[in-house]
C-alpha cells in the first residue's frame, strides 16, 4: 500500500515527461541486470565511471543487446580504484557526458525489473544523478540476486551462516569466473547467477 503511495509521489515529481515510460504499468517479459564501476564506495562523493547492462529474457542472456557505457571524468580517477576496476584514463576514449549516459541507460531499461548484486548501491549511484536531472528516483521493481540466493540456501540450512560474497556465490553455483572485472562482465556473471537461481529450485552443493 505504501509502496504505491510512494510511487505516485515519485511520479508527481517527474520533471521531464520524455521519461514517463519508466512508470509504464505494462508487464515486460524481460529484466535488466546491471552493474556500475565507480570511483569509490560512497554514492554521495563518488562518481560513475562505467555502466554495464544486459537483458535477460526467459532462459537467455541477451548479450547481443548488451550495453556498456563509459562516462567522462571531471576529476582524476583515484589510483587505488584503478587497481580494482582496471579502467585507466586512456580507456575512457569513447566516454560520453554523464547526462547522456544516464539517458541512454534509462531508455535501455524502460520499465523492466532491475536485477543486480548489491543492487542498492548501483541504484543509489544512478539516483544520485537522476534526482537533480528528472526529480525522481528509479521507480522500477528491483530484485537482489544475493537475496534470492540467501532464500534458497536458508531453506536448506536454516541455522546456516551464508556466505554472500560474489565469488562464493559464483563458485557455489558452478559458474565460470571471468577474469575481466568490468561493469559488463560483472553484469553478465550476475545474469547467469540469476538464470541459474531462477532455473533450478534446489542448490545441490552444501558447504
Amino acid at each position: 500500500m505504501f509502496s504505491r503511495l510512494i510511487e505516485n509521489w515519485n511520479r508527481k515529481h517527474l520533471k521531464d515527461e520524455r521519461f514517463s515510460f519508466l512508470f509504464d504499468l505494462s508487464e515486460s517479459d524481460e529484466i535488466v541486470v546491471f552493474d556500475c564501476e565507480t570511483t569509490g564506495l560512497n554514492p554521495k562523493k563518488d562518481e560513475i565511471i562505467s555502466i554495464g547492462a544486459v537483458k535477460v529474457k526467459g532462459n537467455k542472456v541477451l548479450t547481443n543487446e548488451a550495453l556498456h557505457l563509459f562516462v567522462e571524468q571531471k576529476k582524476q580517477i583515484n589510483p587505488e580504484s584503478i587497481m580494482i576496476h582496471q579502467i585507466r584514463h586512456c580507456d575512457l576514449e569513447n566516454a560520453i557526458p554523464v547526462e547522456e549516459a544516464i539517458e541512454t541507460f534509462l531508455h535501455y531499461i524502460g520499465n523492466r525489473t532491475l536485477v543486480g548484486y548489491y543492487l542498492e548501491f548501483d541504484v543509489a549511484m544512478i539516483n544520485k544523478y537522476i534526482k537533480p536531472m528528472l526529480g525522481i528516483t528509479l521507480p522500477n521493481k528491483k530484485e537482489e540476486v544475493s537475496a534470492i540466493y540467501y532464500d534458497k540456501k536458508i531453506a536448506r540450512i536454516p541455522q546456516g551462516n551464508i556466505d554472500l560474497r560474489f565469488d562464493t556465490i559464483l563458485e557455489d553455483l558452478a559458474l565460470p569466473k571471468l577474469q575481466a572485472h568490468d561493469a559488463l562482465n560483472d553484469a553478465v556473471m550476475t545474469a547467469m547467477m540469476y538464470l541459474k537461481l531462477k532455473g533450478k529450485p534446489i542448490i545441490n552443493k552444501i558447504d
Binding site: 532462459n59 537467455k60 542472456v61 541477451l62 548479450t63 547481443n64 548488451a66 558452478a174 559458474l175 565460470p176 571471468l178 577474469q179 575481466a180 559488463l184 562482465n185 553478465v188 545474469a191 547467469m192 538464470l195 541459474k196 532455473g199 533450478k200
Partner: protein
Amino acid sequence: MIALLDNLKTHLPFSLLDDATFKTIEASSQIAYYPQDTVLIEEKTVPENVYVVIKGIVKAKEGEDLTDVYQNYDVFAAIELIRNKGSKDRYVVTQELICYEIPAEVFLDISKKNKEFKTYFLSTIMERMAFMKEKKNNMKSAEMMVARVDENILHSVCIVDADMPILDALKKLENSRAAAIIVENEFGYGIVTDADLRYYILHKEEDALVTISQIQSYPLISTEEDELLFNVLLLMTEHNIKHLPVVNENEKVIGILELSDLLSSLSHQSHLISVQMERAENIEEVIEAAKRVDVMVTLLHSRGVKSRYIAKMVSEIHKKMYAKLFTFVFPKSWHDHCTLVLLGSEGRGEQILRTDQDNALIFEDGFEPEEKEEMTLKFIEVLDAIGYPRCKGNVMVINPQWSKQVTAYKKDIASWVTAPDYKGLMNMAILFDTYAVAGNIDLFKTLRTYLMSKVKEHKEFLPYFARSIESFESPLGLFSRFIAADKAHKDEIDIKKGALFAIVHGVRALALEHGITKTNTTERIKALNDVGYMNKEDAHDLLETLEVLNSLRLHAQLEKLEAKKELDNYICLRTLGKLERDTLKEALKTVENFKKVVSYHFHLSMVS
C-alpha cells in the same frame, strides 16, 4: 568485449577468426541456460544455432546409443548446419548447461567467408590433429638442422659515407646502438669495428687519420640473407670475425650478425649438443652436454616435431653419452672384456625425458675385476649428477644381478624360459629390449643369439610372456567414457599402464616370436610388417596410435618438468580439448583391438 567470448579466441576453430568476425559474433549471440534433461536438438531437425559449451555437459544420442559428449568449449550443431541436414542425433543436456548460441545464419555466413574455419568442422580427427600441429608451428625437424639467417637475430646497422670524419662517425655509431660502422664507398662497403678503432687511437697522429674510410677494413666480408647458419659459422671462424654484415639480394646491408647471437641461436639445436657430446673430453663436459637435452626436447615439442623423431634424436645423443661415460669411467683394461648395455625404455630408444636409468654390464667369462663395485658405483653417480633418477626395479650396473659374466646371464635365460615365473618374465622383457652402446659388442651378440634360440626351442614360453598385456584395464569404460585412475589422481589416467604398456609389450612379444632383433617399438612394428605378420594398414594405425599416446605423455611430462614436479605417466583429462580427448579415445580403442589380436594370436585364454 564479453570475456566469455574472449576466451574462445584461443580455441580451435575460433582461433582461426579475426577480430572483425568476433565483433559480428558478439553482436548476434546470446548466453543461454538450460536445466538438466533439456532436449536441445531433436532428431531429424535442423538446429537454429551453433552451440558453444561454457559450462555443463551435453550428450548426443542416436536412439539409445551415445555417440558423443560435449563439454568445456566444445562446439556442436555446426556440421548439421553446414550440411543443412536434420540431425542424426538427439542432443540432451546431462549436466546443467550454460552455453553460447550463435545464430545459424551468422555462423553460416562466417563459414562461407572463412574456408579454413568451415573445413575444420568437416575434417576427420586425424586431419584435425595434423591441423593442430601445423598451427603450432610450421617448422619440421629437418628444417631445424638447416636453419637460415633470418632478420630477427640481426642487429641494426650504422652506415656512414666514406669521407665522414672519424669522430662524427663514432657519434653516429653511439646514437644508433649498432655494433659496428659500415662505410659506404664508391665501390662496395667497408667495416669499422673495435679492432680498427684501437688502431686509430694508437696511430692517429703518425698516419694522419681523419676520415672513416682510412681506418676501415675493406673489402667487406659479408653473407647473404637466407644463408645457412652452418655456413655462416664456418665463414666467421675461418676469418676470425665477430661481426658479420648481412646483405640482401641488391647487395644492400640489412643488418649485422654477431657471433654470440649466432651461437646462442644454434645452441638449442640437437646437432650442436651432439657435437658437444662427441667432443667431450672428460666427465664434466659429458654432464654439461647431457643437461642441455631437456631444453632441446621442449623446443622441438613446441614446434610440433613428432615425438618419435624427438625420441630418435635424444636416443642418438644418449648413446653417444653412454659410450663416452663408458670410456671415461671404466678402466682401460675393461674395455675389450665387457659390454655396456641399455635396457628398458633406454634400450628401446624411447626415453625422451630422464625418467630412470636402466643399464647393465655383460662381462666376458672369467673376467671379474676387483674394482667392480667401486667403478659401477662411480658410473651410477655420474648418471645421478646428470639428473637420472635411479631405477626403482634396481636394474642398474651396481646390482650384481645386472653386472655379471655371459654364462651367468645364459643360466638366467634358460631358467626364465623353462620355468617362467613373474620375476623371470619381467627380467626377460627387460633383457630383450637390450641395446649395446659400448665395449665388446660381440659379448652382447652371443647373449642375444642364445636368447633367441632358447625361445625358439621353447615356443610354449611365448604365451606366458605375452600374457602381461592383460594386466591393466583400459581407462576407457562403457560407452567410451574415461575412467579416472584412482582417488589420488582424479580426472587423470595413467597412459603407460592404460595404453602404452600394452602396445610396447604386445609388439615385444611378437618381435620375440619372429626373431626380430630391433629394440625400438616403432622399428619392431615396421619389421613385423616386413616379415608379413602385420599388414601395412594395421602397422600404420598402430604407429599413429603410439605417436598420439607418446605425444600426450611427453606434453604432460614437459609441463611437470617445468613445474619441477616428479615425472610420471599421468595425463590430466580436464586440460585436454575436445579434439585431443577424441583422438585419445580413438587411440585407446586401437590399443584394445591390438590387445585382442595379440591375445588371440598367443591363445592367451588357454594359459592361466
